[in-house]
């Protein structure tokens, strides 16, 4: 202890980059708060200064879209053929044949396990009575996936062949990953009109990037010597690529196929929002709106079944697989055919099957009973979280603390008291040598008092610049400020802050809870045995389905949205935390053990620091997941950019849709770069 006191003067004399950044941010924030009464424009960007950027974007895009409309319509006419065809085939094929084919495919890919997964999965779909709707969805996926595979594959190969193209493609793919799904839909709606083609195109666009990414990655990772061996064998470029490099990269490319399928399914279901097509996503939405949660859950489960079947079956492609007897395949198919013919007259119409309706009704009833009996504490949970956590975060203690909720009114004196307490703590921390930490505490106190939605814009810009500077140097700082400024002047600022608040709250909760679950999974294997399948499940479920259970219990509102975001975004945090902690090199562990460190000391001094970069990457994924879900959660009541995008879709307002989508992408991009920057720094510090 005395040592740290001795070196204190030196430390305070030479502030680190981090402390400087925090200090500047703090000063700007304090000045803004102090000047608020005389210069209100420092806090809220005046409406008069807002550029009508949204309208410009709208006009420009509408002009452009109208220009390419004929091409688009032609394309949509062409796509209508395979779609109708797929629809016809899947819709008219007797269901025993479809089930037989899927079961046989399952056997071929993965033996008994996959065959039974296929069989029971589709049997469940049949029993649910959503057969026709499911086949419609499947038809969309069946057409959009080949398009996405070809387009994505071609982009990946081109990027690999033309090095100059590579960085551009990478950048575009990065941006596409951050642009929210709904934002694609509005311009597509304008181009293609209402109808299933929009869903088709949207899902093809959404599903192509993962394919492109994996093709690029796979080709890049082909062993250098294998490529050289192909050259030295005298192959021309075409032979090298198609006979050696692509087959060598097959495993990674199959991962791409798997991700492509899942993305397509997810997007097809999201695209149901625009309606006009009798698919399973639409069924969920419809029942949700009618508050028939039992049916909604049932339809949701059908989606989950599809997701699981498609994911697991295509996942087998990416692993080394053993050959399964093809005679079984023929046997299954023959049995399906015989069954169909034998019972032709007596095959029930799958749409009239209501085997599971009683279940749905029972769930509905049970749920009503549950909410009735437990309503008190559910409401309490919801209200307490809202009043004591979310609301203060959003509008600040000074406005959230009301007699109605907290039992007393917030007074300026309390603000000063809070600031004083914060300052005291900051000083204490600075005294102990944690200057940056102390300053950060003070900033956090200030933010809590003001509320994220009411933060002065100069403070946000300075803070972003400071963080960017620490994480990635001057370039990132400038990039952050420039990009955020475009949001500021385009009049989307308040909505952006609202989005930031909700996703921030969700990310924070995910980081804390997910980090702890990850830690528990790392130190105690049984926990992981339970957590792992849950994580697998959560990652397979299409975004949309997350809304159903939270809606059932907590109704429409911000809290439900918050929960849905958390449920989706927590997975990467858990996975990466565990992965980072578990993968400490054996030699390091052995060195620590032989030094006589206890379990806890090893965790704190060896495993945690070593895992830090990985955990930061997990946090990065969590942030991106949260942003993705934020927009979907707009369906059940959030404010901010997500809501704007959703509204724009309803009104076919391209300007608003694209601008708000771009704003979301900007937020996600900046967060992504900053966390990556920190992770990179940690990795470098560890010499990795």
């Amino acid at each position: 202890m005395s040592a740290s006191v001795d070196v204190l003067p030196v430390q305070s004399a030479r502030l680190t980059a981090g402390s400087w950044a925090a200090l500047i941010t703090l000063v700007v924030g304090a000045v803004c708060l102090a000047l608020e009464p005389i210069a209100p424009w420092l806090v809220t960007w005046p409406a008069a200064w807002v550029l009508p950027a949204t309208d410009w974007v709208g006009t420009g895009l509408a002009w452009f879209l109208n220009g390419i409309k004929p091409v688009a319509r032609l394309f949509s006419d062409i796509m209508a053929y395979p779609m109708n065809w797929a629809n016809f085939v899947l819709g008219k094929t007797p269901w025993p044949i479809v089930i037989g084919v899927v079961t046989a495919l399952g056997w071929y890919l993965g033996g008994l396990a996959m065959a039974s997964l296929g069989f029971f999965g589709l049997s469940f779909v049949l029993a649910s009575g959503y057969w026709a709707e499911s086949m419609n969805t499947l038809a969309l996926v069946a057409v959009s996936v080949p398009v996405a595979l070809i387009v994505g594959g071609a982009i990946g190969i081109l990027a690999n062949e033309i090095p100059r193209l590579k960085s551009i493609v990478q950048a575009v793919l990065d941006v596409m990953q951050t642009v929210p799904t709904f934002a694609y839909l509005t311009p597509l709606l304008l181009l293609f009109g209402f109808g299933p083609v929009v869903g088709l195109i949207a899902s093809a666009i959404y599903a192509a990037p993962p394919m492109a990414r994996n093709v690029m990655l796979g080709l890049e990772r082909v062993e250098h010597e294998v490529k050289e061996a192909a050259i030295m064998s005298g192959g021309n470029r075409f032979q090298q690529l198609f006979q050696v490099e692509i087959p060598s990269a097959a495993t990674q490319i199959m991962v791409g196929v798997n991700q492509c399928l899942m993305a397509a399914l997810s997007m097809v279901i999201i695209a149901a929002v625009i309606g006009g097509f009798n698919d399973i996503g639409w069924e969920v939405l419809l029942t949700m709106r009618k508050a028939q949660f039992g049916e909604s859950l049932l339809a949701g489960l059908v989606i989950v079944v599809f997701a699981v079947v498609i994911d697991r079956m295509s996942g087998v492609l990416a692993t080394e697989r053993q050959r399964h007897d093809t005679r079984v395949v023929w046997a299954i198919l023959a049995f399906a055919a015989v069954f169909t013919v034998a019972f032709w007259a007596r095959l029930p119409n799958p749409s009239e099957l209501t085997l599971l309706d009683p279940v749905a009704q029972a769930v509905d009833q049970g749920l009503t009973d549950f909410t009735l009996t437990n309503g008190a504490w559910l409401d309490a949970l919801k209200n307490n979280s809202m009043f004591y956590v979310l609301l203060p975060l959003r509008i600040g203690l000074d406005q959230a603390v009301l007699p109605f909720t907290w039992g007393f009114l917030w007074t300026p004196a309390m603000s000063y008291g809070l600031f004083a307490a914060g300052a005291l703590m900051a000083l204490l921390m600075a005294w102990r040598g944690h200057v940056t930490g102390g300053l950060t505490v003070l900033i956090a106190v200030g933010m809590l008092e003001t509320g994220i939605a009411n933060l002065p814009w100069p403070f946000v810009l300075t803070g972003a610049a400071a963080l960017g500077w620490v994480a990635g140097g001057r370039r990132l700082a400038v990039l952050s400020v420039v990009l955020l400024s475009t949001i500021l002047v385009s009049g989307l600022w308040e909505r952006a802050l609202l989005s930031l608040y909700l996703s921030g709250a969700a990310v924070f909760s995910c980081a804390v809870v997910g980090g702890m679950i990850g830690l528990a999974s790392a130190v105690w294997e049984p926990v992981w045995k339970v957590v792992r399948p849950i994580c697998d499940m959560l990652q397979t479920i299409p975004l949309f389905v997350f809304l159903i259970p939270v809606l059932m219990v907590f109704q429409i509102g911000e809290f439900s949205a918050f929960l849905a975001i958390c449920a989706y975004a927590i997975v990467p945090m858990i996975r990466y935390t565990r992965h980072g902690l578990v993968n400490t090199p054996d030699e390091m562990m052995e060195a620590a053990i032989s030094s006589g460190a206890t379990e806890w000391q090893i965790m704190r001094d060896v495993r945690a620091p070593y895992a830090a970069p990985t955990i930061l990457l997990g946090l990065n994924q969590t942030i991106l997941y949260a942003f993705a879900m934020l927009v979907i959660a707009a369906l059940i009541g959030t404010t901010g950019l997500g809501q704007s995008i959703y509204l724009a879709l309803g009104q076919a307002d391209v300007g608003l849709g694209i601008s708000a989508g771009a704003a979301m992408a900007i937020l996600a991009l900046i967060a992504d770069r900053m966390v990556q920057g920190f992770a990179e720094e940690k990795r470098k510090a560890l010499g990795l």
């Binding site: 062993e223 010597e225 294998v226 050289e228 030295m232 064998s233 005298g234 006979q243 087959p247 060598s248």
Partner: protein
């Protein structure tokens, strides 16, 4: 065929520089230094370029086994990639059987590789999705050789490397030594004149390595290819080479026969390499012999110029009588013949 005087490979002032606009940087640096390679290299380094190969000059004669030896980072792998044109080469000349390959068109290079070149890689570079036979036959497949014919030829080289019976295995089912046999078979499939081997045995266990070295020598004895062989192992270099080039920091510091390298190292760096080497095994009598009739004693143990020093020593020792051996107290307990001492010091030839 080339006439006897044309070397299989000739490198003249060969440079490989990494960095943006390397070609111009090299020309400028050479102009500034007035053609002095060392100065030019230092100049390039100062400007942030990496001169991985500096001003390499050597010939590989027809049927010669030319070994390039150096530590990791010395530029030996870069050099072999220059010669095989996997890297373009920044400056200078590479003549393969008299034909300059720097600046040759893609088509010419492909043609050259299909007919004249074969290469073996350190980590084998096998195609993971092809069987052994398909791997070996691939260089024939790209030229459009028919299925039957290429299977037959593949079978030939597979037998040559002793892999009969594994034709339909996949590389992942083979051991390291077997994989490299596949690599060797593949590089020989088109019966190339020039054979590049890039540290072919470095990734293998010592025992397997020796086996493959011996087998490699056996194959070479029948095929008589012109070979460029890369290694970081001085013992391997001395065992295999007709001539050795030693590289350091991108520069060839000495070229010579194994005996030259061991007995007449040009500098401390080369001396350091040969320090741990049993010189008696690699140097031959010719290298220490004074020419001419000269002054000599009455004995003639029957030395010839091609004997190793170890062998020569053993022969000389045979002239002596057995000598006594005593225990600690000084009593005679036995006898030993000096030639037995010399023989015991020799490493068994395999």
């Amino acid at each position: 065929m080339t006439d006897a005087n044309t070397p299989a490979i000739a490198c003249r002032n060969l440079w490989q520089v990494f960095g943006p606009g390397a070609e111009k940087a090299l020309t400028d640096a050479l102009a500034r230094s007035g053609g002095d390679a060392d100065k030019a290299a230092a100049d390039l380094r100062e400007r942030g370029y990496i001169p991985a190969v500096q001003d390499a000059n050597f010939d590989v004669r027809d049927g010669e086994l030319f070994v390039i030896m150096g530590l990791s980072g010395s530029g030996k792998s870069t050099l072999i990639r220059c010669i095989s044109q996997l890297l373009p080469g920044t400056g200078g000349e590479i003549r393969i059987e008299g034909e300059n390959v720097i600046g040759a068109s893609k088509k010419q290079l492909t043609e050259l590789r299909r007919k004249k070149l074969g290469m073996v890689f350190q980590h084998f570079g096998l195609f993971p999705h092809m069987t052994v036979a398909e791997n070996v036959a691939y260089p024939l497949k790209v030229q459009g050789v028919g299925r039957k014919e290429r299977r037959a030829r593949a079978q030939e080289v597979i037998s040559l490397v002793g892999l009969e019976g594994r034709e339909d295995s996949f590389p992942r089912q083979l051991s390291g030594g077997q994989r490299q046999r596949v690599g060797i078979a593949r590089s020989l499939a088109v019966n190339p004149d020039i054979w590049f081997l890039d540290e072919p045995f470095s990734a293998l266990d010592p025992l397997i390595r020796r086996q493959l070295q011996d087998e490699f020598l056996r194959i070479q004895a029948t095929l008589k290819k012109s070979i460029v062989f890369i290694t970081h192992d001085i013992a391997e270099a001395l065992k295999l080479a007709d001539r050795i080039a030693i590289m350091r920091d991108g520069k060839i510091v000495q070229i010579g026969t194994p005996a030259d390298i061991v007995l007449r190292p040009v500098d401390d760096y080369v001396r350091e390499f040969s320090k741990d080497v049993a010189k008696g095994r690699h140097a031959r009598v010719a290298s220490v012999m004074h020419e001419g009739e000269g002054e000599r004693g009455p004995d003639d143990p029957g030395l010839t110029t091609t004997m190793t020093l170890d062998e020569a020593l053993a022969h000389c020792m045979e002239l002596y009588e057995p000598v006594p051996v005593r225990d600690k107290s000084g009593a005679i307990v036995g006898t030993v013949h000096p030639s037995d001492l010399a023989a015991a010091l020799q490493v068994d030839e395999t």
